[in-house]
Amino acid sequence: MNNKIEIKNLNKNYDDFQLKNINLDIPCGYITGLIGENGAGKTTLIKSILNIINYDSGDIKINGEDKKENIGVVLDNMFFPELLNANDIGKIMKNVYKTWDMNLYSKYLSDFKLTTNKQVKTFSKGMRKKLEIAVALSHKPSILILDEPTSGLDPIVRDEILDIFLDFIQDENNTILLSTHITSDLEKIADYITFIDNGSLVLNDYKDNILDDFGILKVDKDDFKNIDSKDIIKYKKNKYSYDILVKSREKLKKKYNKYVIDKPTLDEIMVIYIKGVK
């Protein structure tokens, strides 16, 4: 398979946090969703890819074309100069990107119902995100690297933007890497899921593999001892029952035919993984 971004043995040390030996390939032509709790290292990973931070060791390769021209970026915090308006930002970008398409930009602005002559500081959080996404798309990049692009947006706009991403990925030379807390968005559009916890890569697989393979086994307190400990990845204790995260769901369904094994959501996998115990 063709990899767009190759990350090898990436390490970054902060006083209170480390990104530990990340090995990750972002495949070309797919949407890869980066999940993990706050402070897990998603933003650090994205900033390393973009050279915004200097990582301590490891290697990050972006294959193919000119790095700057072909990447569209949305960062986690707002970054446009607040005193400027959308028109100004368009003029700036026209001088930054050779491939900047002013008509496309205007089209996004009107699609997103953004005013062009009001200072960015008067925009709501959602409007700013929309502006950032419009800018990220308007120079026709082949890679989108987006740190929580849909946070702060209402469900309708989020849906519109997810459609834009799906449209973008129709071109098999395009690639998207996005991090988000809204895992339902990823269930809708992502092909791959990369799960980071406490600076380490926990999971990196096809979304469908993950959702088809993992299961949540629900048992009563008394039945918990009947479960083979090697089948348990992690479990979470509720008031009267246990939620157990398991793998090879279909196989275990036969083994524990007395109990219910549900198909999990990404949220559930994340929560049991992070909060559960082994």
Partner: protein, 210 residues
């Protein structure tokens, strides 16, 4: 680089009303002694440049600028070029105002005006050459304290020097030499000082995480 410079110009433009008012007040209050404009105009443009640093920091622009260029050198270079542009524009403006007023008052001395403008320009260039690496190292908020310290230090050192050199100023051949070739020496010196400053700034900036 053009885009980043344009961003700073647009930021300055968004304050254009304040700028015009301040410049106008300058002009009115010091019309008698118009030569002080020679320093005040470029100094004012430096304040505007420093303001763009504040905006950048407040809006967390740098991280994004790095992704736009994928080259930290370009980000630094843009700031220096923008600053020099602002300085040259305001110095020219001061030059023109001086000439006009000199014409009106009938005491026009182009040579003196030229050397005044160049000296002012050089002084300010030295100032920003010291300031910018400090800003890139510590950020504009902390660097503000340094600005005050440097201003005091420069005033003190220069004052001390002038008091002691003054006696044989006119007879000193070095000063004479400097004065004659000012128009050549100042640009060359400025370029050297600025280039060193740029290299140091880049060194600090390249190690920074945003």
């Amino acid at each position: 680089m053009k885009g980043l410079i344009l961003k700073d110009l647009l930021l300055v433009k968004s304050n254009i009303r304040t700028i015009i008012i301040v410049l106008f007040i300058f002009l009115i209050t010091i019309f008698n002694d118009v030569s002080s404009i020679t320093l005040l105009f470029p100094l004012f443009s430096i304040i505007m440049c420093l303001t763009t640093f504040s905006y950048d920091e407040y809006n967390k622009w740098d991280a994004y600028a790095i992704t736009l260029t994928n080259n930290r050198k370009l980000v630094i270079k843009s700031k220096y070029v923008f600053t020099i542009m602002m300085l040259i524009i305001t110095s020219l403006l001061a030059f023109i105002v001086n000439i006009i007023v000199g014409n009106i008052n009938g005491n026009l001395n182009i040579e003196e005006i030229t050397s005044n403008v160049l000296e002012g320009l050089f002084g300010i260039l030295v100032f920003i050459s010291i300031m910018y690496p400090i800003i890139y190292k510590f950020g504009i908020e902390k660097a503000r304290i340094f600005i005050l310290v440097i201003c005091f230090a420069l005033t003190f050192v220069l004052g001390y020097l002038f008091r002691n050199i003054d006696i044989n100023m006119s007879s000193n051949s070095i000063i004479k030499f400097l004065d004659t070739y000012l128009i050549v020496i100042i640009p060359i010196l400025s370029i050297i000082v600025l280039f060193i400053s740029y290299l140091i700034s880049y060194k600090f900036y390249s190690k920074k995480d945003f």
